[in-house]
Symmetry: C2
Subunit: 354 residues, 2 copies
């Protein structure tokens, strides 16, 4: 039986659902994965920091995290300490999430995160840090919630070279475009997404395409071996003025979608987020409301599409849960190395099994 | 570095492409998976049996296989002997493939197969045999070629309960239906599929729905914990007389598709293959020609769809290759156990990692 001690950095909706999901799955975790999990510390910017049940004053979540990890050197040394990163993202810099991940790995903790910031801004350097500490950095929930994307590439597509991708990966903009097609105003659709807790706290992150650009950078870094940040992604968002085009596209049997793309071009990777009018028989055309999809272009298997047909907090929390099971299954993370940059062809997994 | 000795049982198009793919991927297998592979014996019904480069006379492929495995007891004991099963299937009984798999496991060999017969007819008993011998029985290529289906469930969806599935999994019938929609005659479309090597040697296996029924039984057994054979699947095929319905469906903006379904109903699993007229916004409606797709219904992630957009021999051969890498990655197969029958909720993986 393995026992993981969890340190939660960020304790918003996702982290809370993760904790309740852990409770629901407690018996199955024990039975099927010989895993016992307990939360030992929690750090939030607004509600303060708690370690071992006691409120602790700290200069910042980062300072608190460093202290907590240091105090748990024994669990860290045994590979039983896991930092769960779910803080709110500053899209301009990928912080404070990236610093949290770096500090956790430096202290010998594994890191699992539903945050796209670290992998979008610093994938390669964080993978190196994880390798130095012989720990895992996992982030399945960063794109399409718990639907296997990074795990799919790493665990199920050995030897396959991924040469490009396209998809719809931002639920808020897809919901708004779907609503505007039906004549609903932009603002009302956006407010509905915020009321449901789907839209980012800062709506501009979604509607200006920043969330999609961060996910695009994450996908490009991990699947295509790129070295980019969201600022390197050519980006276009949506606004109220796109309503007429959405209605016109639908009337012509097409759909207007905010499509992300990444592609190897020689030794470079190019990536963009943009509005596209898609024919009805495109898989991405069928995505209504909050549905997402990703189409991978590969050498051996042509195109493979993965479609997320539902959504919600449980999906995102499940991304963290599946990362936690990966930790328990894989054991210590030796031989981790980030995927090579193009054009070398190599498998899309980076942390290898031992 | 691990060395696998392969025994090929069946040496048709799929096995030949597998061997050439092994050669193409030789360097990557060595570099990324520390794996060296060589073919030590080949058994075919028509061209005889070859062991270690020498033609051998044998009463049957099964008798030859037993001899080959016995002569390689040392490799079997070390978990380095792998039988690759790709013989032609007798759909009424799942033979000779099932007997081949059973003999190989009994002799201590791992088995990988692109054959749907063994998993459709005898999944549970073969998994028990694999567990007794502490070896793996893997079959990724049995449904949707090398596109991750069984690996997806086993490796990337821990703790998720799959409650049902639906999909389009037979390329020949989908190609014929797509052709008939456009006014082409049934026979011409079928001949084209046979000329391309896609249709089964015995065309009735495809057009009468037997291939789809075998895949449905395989999916139901593995993903839903059913105990069924293809004979337990309610089945309907397609014929020339469905052309008018296909044209009419298309004219109405719909598509006529041969849809497979499996679902838990209380403690039972029900499964069927049948023609359905689907609305245009159904994912399965978009599948043209040889494209396949599978939609899983789950508890934690709602519906997940996986779409195979290309096809061909390389896809099928890749299913075997990914199984081979799974063997190398997972090591010896301790703690294997078939997935429980409904209604117990448990994860969809059966061979567990060690």
């Amino acid at each position: 039986m393995t026992q993981f001690d969890l340190v939660l950095v960020g304790y918003g909706n996702v982290a809370r659902r993760f904790v309740s999901l852990l409770r629901e799955q407690q018996a199955a975790l024990r039975r099927d994965h010989r895993l016992v999990v307990r939360v030992v510390a929690t750090a939030t910017r607004h509600h303060g920091c708690v370690d071992n049940g006691r409120q602790v004053s700290a200069a910042s979540t980062l300072a608190f995290l460093r202290d907590v990890v240091t105090r748990r050197a024994a669990a860290a040394r045994d590979g039983r300490l896991v930092v769960v990163e779910t803080t709110t993202l500053d899209i301009a810099r990928g912080e404070p999430a990236t610093s949290h991940v770096r500090a956790a790995l430096a202290g010998g903790a594994h890191v699992i995160t539903a945050n796209k910031g670290p992998v979008a801004f610093a994938y390669r350097s964080l993978m190196r840090a994880a390798a130095r500490s012989n720990r895992w950095f996992l982030f399945e929930g960063a794109v399409m919630d718990g639907i296997p994307v990074f795990n799919l590439a790493r665990e199920t597509l050995p030897l396959v070279a991924i040469t490009g991708f396209r998809g719809v990966v931002n639920s808020t903009t897809n919901f708004i475009l779907t609503a505007m097609e039906q004549g609903q105003p932009f603002d009302a659709a956006l407010r509905e997404m915020q009321a449901r807790g789907i839209a980012e706290a800062d709506a501009s992150l979604d509607v200006d395409g920043w969330d999609a650009a961060a996910k695009t950078a994450a996908l490009a870094n991990v699947l295509l071996g790129a070295r980019m940040t969201p600022h390197d992604v050519s980006r276009r968002g949506i606004g109220a003025s796109d309503g007429a085009a959405a209605i016109a596209a639908r009337a012509a049997g097409h759909r207007l979608k905010l499509v992300v793309r990444g592609q190897r071009e020689g030794t470079r990777v190019v990536a963009q987020v943009g509005l596209q009018q898609l024919p009805a028989d495109d898989i991405l055309s069928q995505l209504d409301g909050q549905q997402n999809a990703l189409i991978l272009t590969t050498d051996l298997l042509d195109e493979i599409a993965v479609v997320q047909r539902g959504s919600g907090l449980t999906h995102t929390a499940y991304g963290l849960l599946s990362d936690l099971v990966s930790l328990a299954t894989h054991g210590p993370a030796t031989r981790q190395s980030p995927r090579s940059a193009p054009p070398r062809r190599s498998p899309p997994r980076q942390p290898r099994r031992t």
